[in-house]
Each structure stands twice: as structure tokens, then as C-alpha cells.
């Protein structure tokens, strides 16, 4: 069993078997993080470039730790301290970086499709760390891992994604990922933040959060980007909080042993109240811990070659 592609662009194209392989491998990697020496020599000699065109705390640190814990060489690049400021194009930038002999590129960019574009101009393995409103596959994988760890299964769970679905790459990757693993996925948010024809992804769509939460096992609360209000898509943040914010009262609709997820960063008091974010059913920090193990698994599996092991 191996991954069919040497790139990780998104979960849309991944099979259930491939996702399971990544999650199983991540389980073994999670144990390494508990050892006295949290580093293994596996990717010694592999050079990974973290190419971040957008700000990021969790994803970037998480990838960097994952790379270092596999003994890879890590080069971190952020757009605003580089020649991008002088007007260098994306293609020129990456081709120059590749000319310095590198093996893998982890890329975050505000435009959808950039990771795919890089696969066309580089030989390196490309890992999508979030592209525009398209996909954020490692986030969805760590969500799947966290839910599988807690619920011991994914199949049959009702997973509700609440918030700004339209601009959320996490939502899209989660929809594909959880659907592939057999969960029932529903989305809920204001109509202005819901893409047209989203029901064609084979999911339930709600504009009433109390209806959506009925009988749910997992709620993934998306961040409301403060810029949305300025764009006129939300009348006010307070109205959003009243209509869609996840508070203690709304949790009563959920199934027993429910789980609250949030990809971070949290706007406390906007999309989620602090009591819920810090409650015993919240796995927000477990998600962050698991992120390192999942990213180690992805780096490990993608760095393999074509031949069979004897």
C-alpha cells in the first residue's frame, strides 16, 4: 500500500485507503513525540522548503517541527521578507529555490491552485499547506485523526461544519475527507457565506444552526474572518454570534460524547464562546498535537520512491 501521488494537493482526489494509510502511519509517529529524544533519522539528507505566502502560526510551526523531528533539512521562507517584495514572480522564486537542490516544498498561498501550478514547474514533491479557498489537506487529515482517536471510528458520525464555508479551505478538505471515510457531513452558515450548489457535494446544508446541530457527534467551528464584515457579507459580528455562535445552550442538541473542533485561530466570543472552546469536549489542542504526527506521516509517505521493499 502506498500513496498514488508524490504530491499532496488535496483530499478530493484521495481514496479511503490512502487516507487510512496516512492516519495509521501517523499513529506510529505520535508515539515518537512522547520519547525522551523526539527525533528519528528517517529523512536525513532530505531538504524541505516551507514556502509561506500567507501568515500562519500553527501550520507553519507544525510542519517545521514535523520536518525537524524526521531529521530533514528545513528552509523556511516567508513572502514579506524575500525578493517577492521586489516583484519576483512565484515561478521565478520557486525555480531559483529548486536550483539550490531541494526535495520537497510545503506551500501556503492566497490563490487556489498554486500547489498544482508548482507541480508543473518543479520536480520536487509538493505539499499543500492551504491554497486560497480551495483545500487545506493536512488540517483535514489531523481532524480525521483526532476524531478517529476519540470516537474510535469515523463512519456513521454526523459532522457539522459551522461558519464561513464559502471562504474556508478547511471546510472543503473536511467535506471531502469525512465523506470519503463514511461520515455524514452537514454544513451551516449564513447564506452569504455559503457557496452556490454546495449541496452537490452530497452533504446537507442548513441556515439554522439549531437544526443543523440536532443529533450531531462532531461540530467543527470555522473561524469568522473579521474582514468578511467589512466586505458586507455579515451585518455585524454580534448578529453572527447570536445566530450561529456555538455556546453552551446550543450544545444540548448534540449527541452524547460529542466533540468540538476548531482549526484555529479562534475569535473567542464570536464563533465560539470561551466556555465551549475550553470545555472538556473540546479537542482543539489535541488537534494541534496531532497535527505534528499527521504531517510527519505525510512527509514520510511522500518521500518514498517507486520500487518495492524487498
Amino acid at each position: 500500500m502506498k500513496l498514488r501521488s508524490k504530491h499532496l494537493l488535496g483530499l478530493e482526489v484521495m481514496t479511503k485507503e490512502e487516507i487510512n494509510l496516512i492516519l495509521d502511519t501517523a499513529e506510529s509517529f505520535k508515539e515518537i513525540l512522547e520519547r525522551p529524544i523526539r527525533i528519528v533519522p528517517t529523512l536525513r539528507g532530505v531538504t524541505v522548503v516551507n514556502l509561506f505566502y500567507e501568515p500562519s502560526t500553527r501550520t507553519r510551526i507544525s510542519f517545521e517541527l514535523a520536518e525537524r523531528r524526521l531529521s530533514a533539512e528545513v528552509i523556511s521562507f516567508s513572502a514579506n521578507t524575500s525578493s517577492v517584495k521586489k516583484g519576483e514572480t512565484l515561478k521565478d522564486t520557486v525555480q531559483n529555490i529548486e536550483a539550490m537542490k531541494i526535495d520537497m516544498v510545503v506551500v501556503r498561498h492566497q490563490c487556489s491552485g498554486v500547489p498544482y501550478f508548482l507541480t508543473q514547474c518543479l520536480d520536487a514533491s509538493i505539499i499543500n499547506a492551504g491554497d486560497g479557498a480551495h483545500e487545506h489537506p493536512t488540517q483535514a487529515l489531523l481532524d480525521l485523526f483526532t476524531i478517529r482517536e476519540k470516537h474510535k471510528k469515523i463512519k456513521g458520525l454526523k459532522v457539522v461544519i459551522v461558519g464561513d464555508v464559502k471562504y474556508s479551505r478547511v471546510a472543503r478538505s473536511d467535506i471531502w475527507g469525512f465523506s470519503a471515510m463514511g461520515a455524514k457531513v452537514a454544513v451551516c452558515g449564513p447564506t452569504t457565506l455559503m457557496p452556490y450548489e454546495i449541496e452537490k457535494m452530497g452533504i446537507e446544508v442548513y441556515d439554522d444552526v439549531d437544526e443543523a446541530l440536532e443529533g450531531a457527534d462532531v461540530v467543527n467551528v470555522l473561524r469568522i474572518q473579521l474582514e468578511r464584515q467589512e466586505g458586507g457579507l455579515l451585518p455585524s459580528l454580534r448578529e453572527y454570534t447570536n445566530k450561529f455562535g456555538i455556546n453552551i445552550e446550543r450544545l444540548k442538541k448534540l449527541n452524547e460524547n460529542f466533540t468540538i473542533m476548531h482549526p484555529g485561530p479562534i475569535n473567542r466570543g464570536v464563533e465560539i464562546t470561551p466556555e465551549v472552546a475550553d470545555g472538556p469536549y473540546s479537542v482543539i489542542l489535541n488537534q494541534v498535537t496531532n497535527g505534528v504526527a499527521v504531517r510527519m506521516a505525510v512527509l514520510y509517505l511522500l518521500s518514498g520512491g517507486e520500487g518495492k521493499v524487498e
Binding site: I32, P41, G304
Partner: protein
């Protein structure tokens, strides 16, 4: 080697371990996945029977310490490593089914040392088939079986394969 021979070899190895270390004080056994894991458990049980003490048993997967992960091969499946005791100052008995090139043992040694500094590490194997590529030798050997490099030594054990048996397959 049939089931009885395997059994006798393991009993002898357990006695040799106790004899060489003058008892079972500070001894911990670590098996290398897959089959070494079960052999390690058996050896530990046997030592416990002889010395009437508890022997900690760990298991480890050496995939991440292999020296060929970066060659053009498909990545092998990573399995769990479980060393739930402190290795510092222990006498570690490393157990595997077949000793061949020595590369697996090299990886295992590196991995153990990343867990801490044991007092010493000794190696027990069910079969030593020769053809070492590294300066590594076993302290306890069930049976030396001279082989040609092209031959395959197939070890079957109860817990995985339903029976204990060692055979040589010509290719």
C-alpha cells in the same frame, strides 16, 4: 528447526542470559518487529520462570532508522514502538528472529540509544545465517545455519503463523 527445537533453543538462550549476567537484575528485553516481538516475550517469560522476577518487555519497529529509506523504494509501513520502561542503566537484551546483514540490528541499536543510555546491549537471535555487512555479532544464538546469499530463511512462529518452524527456501 521444528517446534521442539525452537522451544529448546529459547530455553537455552534464557539460561545463557541468566548465566552471563549472573541473574536477571536490571535485565529488560526488547523485541524487533514483527517476529522478534513474540520471541522476546517468550524469552522474558522463561527468564522470569528461572529467576522468579518480573522482566520488562518492549517492542520496536526499526523502519524509521533504516539506512535505505531514502533510496528509490516504496516506504515501508511504520509500526508501533513501545518501550514503556526507562532504558537507562538497564541490561537490554535485543531479540530478533534472524541475524543476516546486521543492518536491522544497527538500526535497532541507534534507536535504543535515542531512548537513553543502557548499561549494555546484548543480542539474542533464533537463527544466525551469516553474510554480515556490518561488524555485528550475536551474544546468544539459537542455531547457526550456513546459507547461500540467494536462499531465504523463513521463520514461522506460533503467535503470527500458527506454528513454530524454521526452514530454508531455495530461490
Amino acid at each position: 528447526m521444528d517446534a521442539k527445537t525452537v522451544e529448546r533453543a529459547l530455553i537455552r538462550i534464557a539460561h545463557e542470559i541468566v548465566e552471563k549476567n549472573k541473574g536477571a537484575k536490571n535485565i529488560a528485553v526488547i523485541g524487533i518487529k514483527n517476529r522478534g516481538e513474540y520471541l522476546a516475550q517468550r524469552v522474558a517469560r522463561l527468564i522470569e520462570k528461572i529467576e522468579k522476577v518480573q522482566i520488562p518487555v518492549g517492542l520496536m519497529d526499526i523502519t524509521l532508522y533504516r539506512d535505505d529509506v531514502q533510496t528509490k523504494l516504496e516506504q515501508p509501513l511504520v509500526q508501533k514502538t513501545e518501550i514503556l520502561f526507562d532504558v537507562v542503566d538497564k541490561v537490554i537484551i535485543l531479540v530478533d528472529d534472524v541475524l543476516f546483514t546486521g543492518r536491522t540490528i544497527r538500526a535497532a541499536l541507534d534507536q535504543i540509544i535515542d531512548f537513553g543510555r543502557p548499561k549494555c546491549i546484548q543480542l539474542a537471535v533464533l537463527v544466525d545465517r551469516g553474510h554480515r555487512e556490518l561488524p555485528i555479532r550475536a551474544d546468544y544464538v539459537g542455531k547457526n545455519i550456513p546459507t547461500a546469499k540467494s536462499e531465504l530463511v523463513k521463520v514461522k512462529i506460533k503467535e503470527v503463523d500458527g506454528e513454530d518452524n524454521v526452514s530454508i527456501i531455495k530461490q
